[in-house]
């Protein structure tokens, strides 16, 4: 006898009601575990933007488009900050704090020593207490790269002591245990190499395209994929973390490792084993920027944004910029939308826009005076577009909430931290653009680190920490 659709759904509901669900503690444990991993990953993500000697460690976080931002019942915007303990000093006070990052409730910093070289120091972000200080790395300088990934700290120093100011040098990356500061692995790499991490693995792609994977839990477990004739040109993650002047960007993936070769082939590789799962021909040159999202590769090629289905269903042009323009970085931004920027190569004009992820139709577009864009960060559907001269915040409808000189990064979904060239620190609400002065940090000697709770800034011989108040 035919069933009524109501009856069928009622039966489906009863089936669902019979599903065993664990107590809330199981979700809490999973959340705690994810906090340990994701905080280490997220808060360490640093892309350096230098502004006349003052900066903010601008973080890239793994794509969090899964977490929507909804209307709230209270206004708990950041309204101030209070010091955490006193200034933190390392050694006899003559050591200089340089780059700092925050991960998993800790501040990790590089301190340089008066006689040369430097150390990595871990500080409890809630108390300011020094937890450990690493061995001395002879070539560690203010250019050091420092990145936290789940289960490891990566510190990078030049391979030779020769003073260099550009990125075109070889380097050594040391993998440190974040609990102790002990070095567990040292890897030599060349300019042009690429890193990617995910699933407890750290993978180095050499300049010739060969891959070597390291299991961070068992460093005896490694895998290699030799270079092929078709040199990999691009290593794709869902996001990336930076590491200062010296260090490479480290791509992040929560799935497979995806390589794009110079001829445009996409290789999907199991990051745990190095086994090639799939090869997809895209028929397009290597992209200038790309992310993997929802089983698709989104890549900026010339003035187009292209979407390649990694299951082999082909490539399509999702969006085409006007003639004379090029597309830049792209990020998922809200439900079914992608945000990207497009620019004229002469640097005259830049626009940020949101497009429909299914048909590429422009949802909103806004001109920006920011040039030489270096990062595009989204929280929900809100956009932070930063460049060498200024940073701008847009709401989910493309309305410019705030723009100005300085560097900026998200504190949380609703608040953006702004650091001016004079060391002034303020919070900008991503709801209405209102700016609240938080104070001034004089004498900055490196990039500050920011999390939802804490701001940490190096000021010469001291490290200073503040807790945000709401």
């Amino acid at each position: 006898m035919p069933a009524d659709i109501d009856d069928l759904f009622a039966a489906l509901g009863r089936e669902a009601d019979a599903l065993p669900l664990p107590p809330p503690g199981a979700a809490i444990r999973r959340g705690r575990r994810r906090n340990r991993n994701r905080a280490a990953l997220a808060a360490s993500a640093v892309l350096l933007v230098v502004l006349a000697g003052v900066g903010l460690a601008v973080r890239y976080r793994p794509d969090d488009r899964t977490h929507p931002i909804l209307p709230t019942t209270q206004d708990d915007r950041v309204s101030g900050m209070s010091p955490i303990g006193g200034p933190v000093v390392h050694g006899d006070g003559n050591d200089t704090w340089q780059r700092v990052i925050e991960a998993d409730g800790r501040i990790y910093g590089v301190v340089t020593l008066p006689g040369g070289g430097g150390r990595v120091v871990a500080v409890d972000a809630s108390t300011g207490a020094v937890l450990w200080s690493s061995t001395t790395y002879e070539r560690l300088s203010e250019q050091a790269g420092l990145v936290a990934i789940p289960g490891a700290l990566l510190v990078t120093e030049p391979a030779s002591a020769t003073e260099r100011t550009t990125l075109d040098l070889d380097a050594d990356t040391h993998v440190l245990d974040p609990e102790t500061g002990q070095s567990t692995l040292s890897v030599a790499w060349q300019f042009g190499s690429r890193w990617i991490t995910g699933g407890g693995m750290l993978v180095l792609q050499n300049t010739n395209g060969a891959l070597k994977g390291f299991d961070l839990d068992d460093l005896d477990h490694t895998w290699r994929v030799p270079a092929g004739d078709d040199t990999p040109a691009y290593l794709v993650g869902t996001d990336e973390v930076g590491s200062g002047d010296l260090g490479p960007l480290v791509r992040i993936t929560d799935g497979d490792l995806v390589q794009v070769t110079k001829s445009g082939k996409v290789r999907v590789i199991d990051i745990g084993t190095g086994k090639v799962r799939d090869t997809v021909a895209t028929g397009q040159p290597a992209p200038a920027a790309a992310i993997a999202d929802d089983g698709k590769l989104l890549s900026s090629v010339g003035r187009t944004l292209r979407e390649t289905d990694l299951s082999g269903d082909g490539t399509r042009i999702l969006y085409t910029a006007p003639a004379g323009w090029r597309t830049g970085a792209v990020r998922a931004c809200g439900d079914g939308r992608l945000c990207l920027y497009q620019y004229q190569p002469d640097g005259e004009h830049t626009e940020v826009l949101a497009i429909d992820a299914t048909d590429g139709e422009v949802v909103w577009r806004s001109s920006t005076t920011s040039q030489a864009e270096t990062f595009l960060r989204v929280r929900g559907s809100r956009v932070l577009l930063g460049g060498a001269t200024q940073t701008a915040v847009y709401d989910g409808s493309g309305r410019l909430l705030f723009a100005g000189p300085g560097t900026a990064d998200w504190i949380d979904d609703d608040d953006v931290l702004w650091v001016g060239a004079d060391g002034s620190v303020s919070a900008v609400s991503a709801r209405d653009g209102a700016r609240t002065g938080l104070g001034t940090v004089p004498g900055l000697t490196g990039d500050c680190a920011v999390s939802a709770e804490v701001l940490a800034c190096p000021t010469g011989g001291t490290l200073r920490l503040w807790r945000f108040t709401h």
């Binding site: 759904f9 089936e15 669900l21 809330p24 979700a27």
Partner: protein, 166 residues
């Protein structure tokens, strides 16, 4: 914080399981998604608890996770590594297997609208608010979804008339 979260979980988890089951049609995956959504809520509980409708936030997370093949794989992998498998459940009836199979073939928007309407008893107006779509669009989703289910289920289902208009 833990007490407040515990209460919220106990009040809402069963409804979220219904929703997740409706979207995925897979008991194990629904259990996974529910746990993952609450884990993410716990991670940012101060903010989520301040939302006017925290339960809607959970549904959006489940919605997005269920539509994201890569994350689904990742969630399962992470769960398998860190937690015991969820308790087994009895196999569904033949009619439900057909319904679930038909639901899986629907576009995400239609499947979501049907799950909200039939499993969580949400009105067209409420679905419109939650999805950000016009009420006419929601009606269209429901109508098309029911038609597609009817076509897929064939003789299994009573032809749809004007039903549950609210």
């Amino acid at each position: 914080m833990t007490m407040e979260f515990d209460d919220f979980y106990r009040d809402t988890a069963r409804r979220l399981a219904r929703y997740a089951y409706g979207l995925t049609g897979d008991p194990g995956e629904a259990q996974d998604l529910v746990q993952e959504a609450y884990a993410r809520a716990w991670q940012r509980w101060r903010r989520v608890s301040a939302y006017e409708d925290p339960e809607a936030w959970l549904r959006l997370v489940v919605n997005r996770l269920s539509a994201d093949r890569w994350r689904r794989i990742f969630v399962r992998r992470a769960r398998a590594e860190a937690e015991p498998p969820p308790a087994p459940v009895d196999p569904p009836s033949e009619n439900l297997v057909l319904l679930v199979r038909a639901m899986r073939e629907l576009p995400d928007a239609q499947r979501r609208a049907l799950a909200l309407h039939y499993l969580l008893d949400r009105s067209i107006a409420e679905i419109a608010v939650e999805t950000g779509a016009a009420q006419g669009t929601v009606k269209s989703w429901l109508s098309r979804g029911r038609s597609a289910l009817a076509a897929a289920l064939g003789d299994t289902i009573v032809p749809e008339g004007a039903r549950r208009a609210r």
